[in-house]
C-alpha cells in the first residue's frame, strides 16, 4: 500500500466518505490514481480496492469496462478524435488519416517519445464544433488538418500547459465543503421527515463553450 501520495491519499479518503457506500468511490478513485500516474497501475488498483473494500480484481473488472481508464501506459497527451456521425459528415476520417500520418502511429499507439497517443472517439457532445477533438478530455474544435498540426505543435512546445494537464488529471477543483454532513446510509434515514407523506404508486411501468453561431450570438 501507500502508492498514492499523502496528499492524494487524504483526498481519496475524503472522497470515499462522501458516499453512502464505499464502493461508489471506485471510479472517482481510479480517475484520481490515473491523475497521479498517467494510467491505472497495478499498485494503484490495489490501493483503490483497499479504500473501497473490494478485491483488486473487482477494480480491474470495473476499470476495464470503461474507455477513459487505461490499464496500460499512454502518452502525456491523448488525442481523441471524434468520428461519429456529425464529425464524420464534417470530414473526421480525413482529419484522422492526417493525424496518423503526422504522428507516424496507428490508432491506439503512442509515439516513441511518449508524448502522444491517438484514439478514435465516439461522440464527445461537441457536434456544433465538428470536427471535434479532445486532448486529455479538454475540447478543441472545429479542427481541420492544419488545425491538428497547430494543436500538436502547441502541445509539444508546452504552450497549452495551463489548459491541458497531463493525461489522467481530470477534475482539478477539490470538493471543499459538505464533508462533515451526515452522509452515511444509515444516518440519512428520516432526515427530512416532512417529505414522507406522498402516497406513491409502485412499481412503475415507466420507461425510463459554445463556439458555433448559436442562439446566444444570434439573438
Amino acid at each position: 500500500m501507500g502508492h498514492l501520495s499523502p496528499e492524494l491519499r487524504s483526498r481519496a479518503e475524503r472522497m470515499v466518505a462522501l458516499y453512502p457506500e464505499r464502493r461508489s468511490a471506485l471510479i472517482p478513485l481510479c480517475h484520481l490514481a490515473q491523475g497521479q500516474d498517467g494510467y491505472l497501475t497495478e499498485e494503484a488498483m490495489e490501493e483503490v480496492a483497499e479504500l473501497c473494500g473490494v478485491s483488486p480484481a473487482e477494480v480491474r473488472g470495473t476499470a476495464s469496462f470503461y474507455d477513459m481508464l487505461h490499464t496500460e501506459p499512454v502518452g502525456r497527451y491523448v488525442f481523441a478524435i471524434c468520428t461519429n456521425i456529425a464529425c464524420m459528415l464534417a470530414g473526421a476520417y480525413e482529419v484522422l488519416d492526417h493525424a496518423t500520418e503526422r504522428l507516424g502511429i496507428h490508432l491506439g499507439q503512442t509515439t516513441e517519445d511518449g508524448l502522444f497517443t491517438l484514439e478514435e472517439a465516439e461522440c464527445l457532445a461537441g457536434c456544433d464544433r465538428a470536427v471535434c477533438v479532445q486532448v486529455n478530455h479538454r475540447f478543441f474544435g472545429p479542427i481541420d488538418e492544419e488545425g491538428f498540426d497547430q494543436l500538436a505543435d502547441d502541445l509539444a512546445a508546452g504552450r497549452l500547459d495551463e489548459t491541458v494537464p497531463p493525461h489522467g488529471v481530470l477534475n482539478r477543483v477539490v470538493r471543499k465543503v459538505g464533508l462533515e454532513a451526515s452522509r452515511r446510509k444509515d444516518s440519512t434515514i428520516s432526515r427530512n421527515p416532512q417529505s414522507a407523506g406522498d402516497p406513491p404508486v409502485g412499481p412503475a411501468a415507466a420507461k425510463p463553450e459554445a463556439s458555433g453561431p448559436s442562439q446566444s450570438e444570434a439573438s
Binding site: E21, R23, S24, I27, P28, H31, T62, A63, F65, Y66, D67, M68, L69, A80, N84, I85, A86, L89, A90, Y93, E122, C123, A125, C127, D128, A130, N136, H137, P142, I143, E145, G147, L170, N171, V173, V177, G178, A181, S182, R183, K185, T188, S190, N192, Q194, S195, A196, D198, P200, G202, P203, A204, A205, A206, P208, G212, Q215, S216, A218, S219
Partner: protein, 440 residues
C-alpha cells in the same frame, strides 16, 4: 417561425461568466429554490405536474409522474443523469459547462419535492471542464447556504455529490448508470424488478432525471407550472434545447418553443440553421439522436413535437437533429451509426453484442464495394433478430433499449435508399465523394 417564447434554460448564456455564482445571483439565481422552500414538497410536485414537463433525456416520460412512482421508503435518492452520450446530442454538456448553478438549483428543488436527503449528479467523465465547474458550483452552493444542513434556514437538508463517469455510452441508461454509481461495470439491470423508482441505488427508491429536466425547475417554480405549459402545444409543453449538426450552415444549440417551430424552421431559418451548406439539397435528417429513425424532406413541415414525431415513425429523443445533404452517403452514415452501437454494446445480451458487429461488418463491406446483392436481406435479417418484425416502436430481445436502437437507427435509411445500397454493389465502389473537411 421563431416564436416569442422566453428562453428558459439558456437565459443566462449570453454572459461570458454565466457559470459563476455572482452572475447567477445577479440574474435571479436560487430564487426558485427559496420559493420552493416556502411551499410544501407536495405543492412543488404539483407545479411540476401542472407544467407537463416531459423528461428531456430521450424517453420523454412526464417528470412529475415519474416522481409519483417512487416506492414509499425512509430513504429516497435523486440521481441526475448528465452522462450525455447519444451521438449528436450536446445540450446537457452546454448546460453543465455554462450554467452549472442552474443544474444544482434544479437538483435541490427536485430533491426537496421527492424527499431525498442525498443527491448525485452523474457527469459524463469526458466533460473535464464540466466536472470542474459543477464541483465549483457545489462548493459555492454549500457556502451560500443552498446545500448542506437547513438549507436557507429551512428544515430541509441535502448533500450533493458530483460523480464522474468513465466513458461508456450505456451508462446513460438509468439502471446502468446506477450500477456505475455503485462502482461496477455499466450493465443495465433487468426491469422488472429493477425500476429505479422502486429498487434503485443501493436497492432504495431512486429518481433519475436528466440535466435539462433539472435546469427547467427553477423557472417552473418561479413562474408557475401553468406559465410553462402555456408554451408549446398538447403534451409537448414548454421550450426545448435542440442541438443541430451536420451539413447546415450554422450548427449550434437553439432553445425553441416545442411544437410551434418546425424542422424546416430549425434547418433553414436564417436565425437558426441557415440552410444546407453550399446551397445543396437536403437528403435526410435524423430528428432525435442517432437512435431515431431517419426523416426525409417530406417531414420538414412537422413541428418539433414529441407526439407528432412519434406518430410519424421516429422520435424527438434527445432533441438532436443531424442533417445530411445530397452528397452524403447513406451506406457510410448507416455504417458509422452501427459501428457506434457495436463499440458501445455492453455485451450482456447476444442479439445486441453479436448482431451489432454483424451489421457493422456487412455495411462496411457494401461501402467498400465488396458487397453482394443478398447482403441487403442479410442485413435486414440481422436487424430482425435484434428487434423482431422491425416495428416502430421496436420490439425488444435485450435487457435494455440499446439493442433495438440498432435496427431503428438504420432500417429507415436502408428502405429509403435501397437503390443507393445496390449501386454500391453493382459498381463495386462507393459512388459518393469522401466527406468534405469543414474548414474554419
Amino acid at each position: 417561425m421563431l416564436t416569442q417564447a422566453p428562453r428558459i434554460v439558456t437565459a443566462r448564456l449570453g454572459y461570458e461568466d454565466s457559470h459563476t455564482l455572482e452572475r447567477y445571483l445577479a440574474t435571479g439565481g436560487y430564487e426558485g429554490l427559496r420559493k420552493a422552500l416556502s411551499m410544501t414538497p407536495e405543492q412543488v410536485h404539483e407545479e411540476v405536474n401542472a407544467a407537463s414537463l416531459l423528461g428531456r433525456g430521450g424517453a420523454g416520460f412526464p417528470a412529475g409522474r415519474k416522481w409519483s412512482m417512487r416506492r414509499p421508503a425512509p430513504t429516497t435518492y435523486l440521481v441526475v443523469n448528465g452522462d450525455e452520450s447519444e451521438p449528436a446530442t450536446f445540450k446537457d454538456h452546454l448546460l453543465i459547462e455554462r450554467d452549472p448553478h442552474q443544474v444544482v438549483e434544479g437538483t435541490i428543488i427536485a430533491a426537496y419535492a421527492i424527499g431525498a436527503a442525498q443527491a448525485f449528479i452523474f457527469c459524463r467523465g469526458e466533460f473535464a471542464l464540466g466536472l470542474e465547474r459543477l464541483t465549483q458550483a457545489v462548493n459555492e452552493a454549500y457556502e451560500h447556504g443552498a446545500l448542506g444542513e437547513s438549507i436557507f434556514g429551512s428544515q430541509f437538508s441535502l448533500d450533493l455529490v458530483v460523480h464522474p463517469g468513465a466513458g461508456a455510452y450505456i451508462c446513460g441508461e438509468e439502471t446502468a448508470l446506477l450500477e456505475s454509481l455503485e462502482g461496477k461495470r455499466g450493465f443495465p439491470r433487468i426491469k422488472p424488478p429493477y425500476f429505479p423508482a422502486a429498487i434503485g441505488l443501493y436497492g432504495e427508491p431512486t429518481i433519475v432525471n436528466n440535466i435539462e429536466t433539472m435546469s427547467n425547475l427553477p423557472w417552473i417554480v418561479s413562474n408557475g407550472g401553468a406559465a410553462f405549459s402555456a408554451l408549446g402545444q398538447g403534451s409537448s409543453a414548454g421550450t426545448r434545447l435542440f442541438a443541430l449538426s451536420g451539413h447546415v450552415r450554422r450548427p449550434g444549440w437553439y432553445e425553441l418553443e416545442m411544437s410551434k417551430v418546425t424542422f424546416r424552421d430549425l434547418i433553414y431559418a436564417e436565425m437558426l440553421g441557415g440552410g444546407i451548406r453550399h446551397g445543396r439539397e437536403l437528403k435526410a435528417f435524423i430528428p432525435g439522436g442517432v437512435s431515431a429513425p431517419w426523416f426525409f424532406p417530406e417531414h420538414l413541415d412537422m413541428g418539433l413535437d414529441q407526439e407528432a414525431v412519434g406518430k410519424a415513425g421516429s422520435m424527438l429523443g434527445s432533441g438532436s437533429v443531424v442533417v445530411m445533404d445530397e452528397q452524403a452517403c447513406a451506406v457510410r452514415a448507416a455504417w458509422r451509426i452501427s459501428r457506434f452501437f457495436h463499440r458501445e454494446s455492453c455485451g450482456q445480451c447476444t442479439p445486441c453484442r453479436e448482431g451489432s458487429g454483424w451489421i457493422e461488418n456487412i455495411l462496411r463491406r457494401i461501402e467498400d464495394g465488396l458487397g453482394r446483392e443478398e447482403d441487403l436481406e442479410l442485413l435486414l435479417d440481422a436487424c430482425d433478430n435484434i428487434a423482431p418484425e422491425l416495428t416502430w416502436p421496436p420490439k425488444q430481445t435485450t435487457i435494455c433499449v440499446l439493442g433495438p436502437s440498432i435496427p431503428s437507427s438504420i432500417v429507415s435509411g436502408i428502405h429509403r435508399f435501397r437503390d443507393e445500397f445496390l449501386l454500391h454493389v453493382k459498381e463495386g465502389a462507393c459512388p459518393h465523394p469522401p466527406d468534405e473537411v469543414r474548414h474554419v
